[in-house]
């Protein structure tokens, strides 16, 4: 690894962080607009055309707000928790294959994906979601408030419970594709059709667990307003609250992108059709890669919309229902899914 490569990697990282910030800003706006439509309101429409600048105004306001740390809180861990949350959310972006190779410098190809040759990309994603639990649990514990502690505990228990089913549902995909490398999984789907057709059950399980992992409704028990005020961010204000909030939206986009990669063919526009031959383009040429990048972002954005749609349509689970669903329904279902996939694959070979 020489200096040029290192500089390019740093530039890619900067681009991805900026992409995440802008995407999160517009996801917050989309959330407010969609909820307004569902509830027959107008939503933000004063700052910029159609409320386009609302999120940026909110960010500036957050910067200028007083950062209140309760006297009873543990100051160091109170500040550390949002840093862990945001660092984990940002790190996952490094392994997601946002696009194919776009430019070539010194014989090495670069795209928007930072680590396309990483063989253990899938395991890394699971590892990072585990580390994300620390941020939430620390935020709840360090605030030394009853609501925060309950929210943090609930959230940690919920995230680790659903991570089991998430990990098991991915194994079905790995069985079919025979790789943990996300780019290879996409290439397999481009050649053989999307995984959602072969693994519909795994897709449903992954979707439900993704909702629970990102603490979204109907699994938003950690911040159930009527009982816990704000859950683990009750005692957070100013930019620390902003970072926790940003991490939440960053995780939502990341899990949508991972879902698109694993089950919806990644950057493949239409299943079972060779688009490059149809359009008369080289599959690795620049226009084709750009089309694929647009398709990938479109898929992720559609899934984000479904996340928002679900949040404003479904009521919240009770905590025992949530735990029963995770441990007694999703876990055996995903084990059964692996067994059936294994048998079918053996019979086909």
């Amino acid at each position: 690894m020489n200096l040029t490569q290192f500089l390019i990697i740093t530039a890619q990282a900067g681009m991805l962080v900026n992409m995440m910030l802008i995407a999160a800003a517009y996801m917050v706006l989309a959330e407010r607009k969609v909820s307004a439509w569902i509830q027959n309101r107008l939503g933000p429409n004063r700052v910029g055309w159609w409320g386009m600048l609302q999120s940026f105004a909110d960010v500036f306001k957050l910067y200028l707000k007083e950062d209140i740390v309760p006297a009873a809180a543990d100051y160091k861990f109170h500040a550390l928790a949002p840093v862990i949350s945001i660092a984990v959310a940002i790190t996952v972006y490094a392994v997601i294959p946002w696009s194919g190779p776009l430019i070539e410098i010194d014989g090495v190809q670069y795209g928007l994906a930072m680590a396309p040759d990483m063989n253990v990309a899938l395991l890394t994603i699971l590892a990072m979601t585990s580390v994300g639990v620390y941020g939430v649990a620390l935020a709840g514990w360090s605030s030394n408030s009853k609501y925060s502690l309950m929210g943090g505990l609930r959230s940690a228990a919920q995230m680790i419970s659903y991570e089991l089913s998430m990990g098991l549902s991915i194994i079905g995909v790995v069985l079919i594709c025979g790789s943990l490398n996300l780019v290879e999984i996409i290439q397999y789907q481009t050649a053989n059709g999307w995984n959602v057709f072969y693994q519909p059950l795994a897709f449903v399980i992954f979707f439900v667990t993704a909702l629970a992992e990102t603490n979204r409704a109907p699994f938003d028990l950690p911040e159930a307003e009527p009982e816990l005020v704000g859950g683990y961010h009750t005692e957070y204000s100013g930019m620390k609250f902003g970072l926790l909030y940003l991490a939440e939206y960053g995780n939502m986009l990341a899990s949508s992108a991972i879902m698109a990669t694993l089950f919806l063919g990644g950057w493949d526009p239409v299943p079972f059709i060779d688009e490059a031959a149809l359009l008369g383009l080289d599959p690795y040429s620049l226009p084709m890669v750009l089309i694929q990048h647009g398709v990938f972002v479109g898929k992720a954005a559609t899934l984000v919309f479904v996340f928002i749609w679900i949040r404003w349509s479904l009521p919240r689970f009770r905590y025992d229902q949530l735990m029963n669903l995770g441990w007694k329904i999703l876990l055996p279902l995903s084990l059964a899914n692996i067994t059936i996939t294994g048998i079918v694959l053996l019979l086909l070979n």
Partner: protein, 118 residues
């Protein structure tokens, strides 16, 4: 081989720097007028009663312990799944035996009522 992980390391560093710098910047820009009431812990407008770090339900410990047990077993399945087509029938039988063991432990946990939340 190791150089494929460098982008990942860079991203972790950038994430930490991003988080820390934003908190420092906000601390620098925001006002600082603290009063005793403002610094008290939020408890729906009441005077906070005792510390929050009291005993809480043992169920949370149980869930965490079971997560560690099951998660380690799930991690075992990843290398098997990658090599599934090469291992063939032998690998599949071995994994089915492993999954039966895992599942009997799971049934024991359920029968003991470790997952009953009420």
């Amino acid at each position: 081989m190791l150089h494929t992980y460098v982008p990942f390391m860079v991203m972790i560093l950038i994430g930490i720097i991003f988080g820390a710098s934003n908190i420092l910047l906000a601390e620098f820009l925001g006002p600082k007028k603290s009063t005793r009431a403002k610094l008290s812990t939020y408890e729906s407008g009441m005077e906070p009663v005792k510390s929050a770090r009291e005993r809480f339900s043992v169920k949370f410990y149980l869930v965490a312990m079971m997560f560690i047990l099951f998660d380690i077993e799930i991690i075992f399945m990843y290398p098997w799944a990658v090599q599934f087509k090469e291992l063939g029938m032998y690998g599949f039988t071995a994994m089915i035996l492993f999954m039966i063991l895992l599942f009997s432990g799971y049934i024991y946990v359920i029968k003991k009522g470790a997952l009953r939340w009420d």
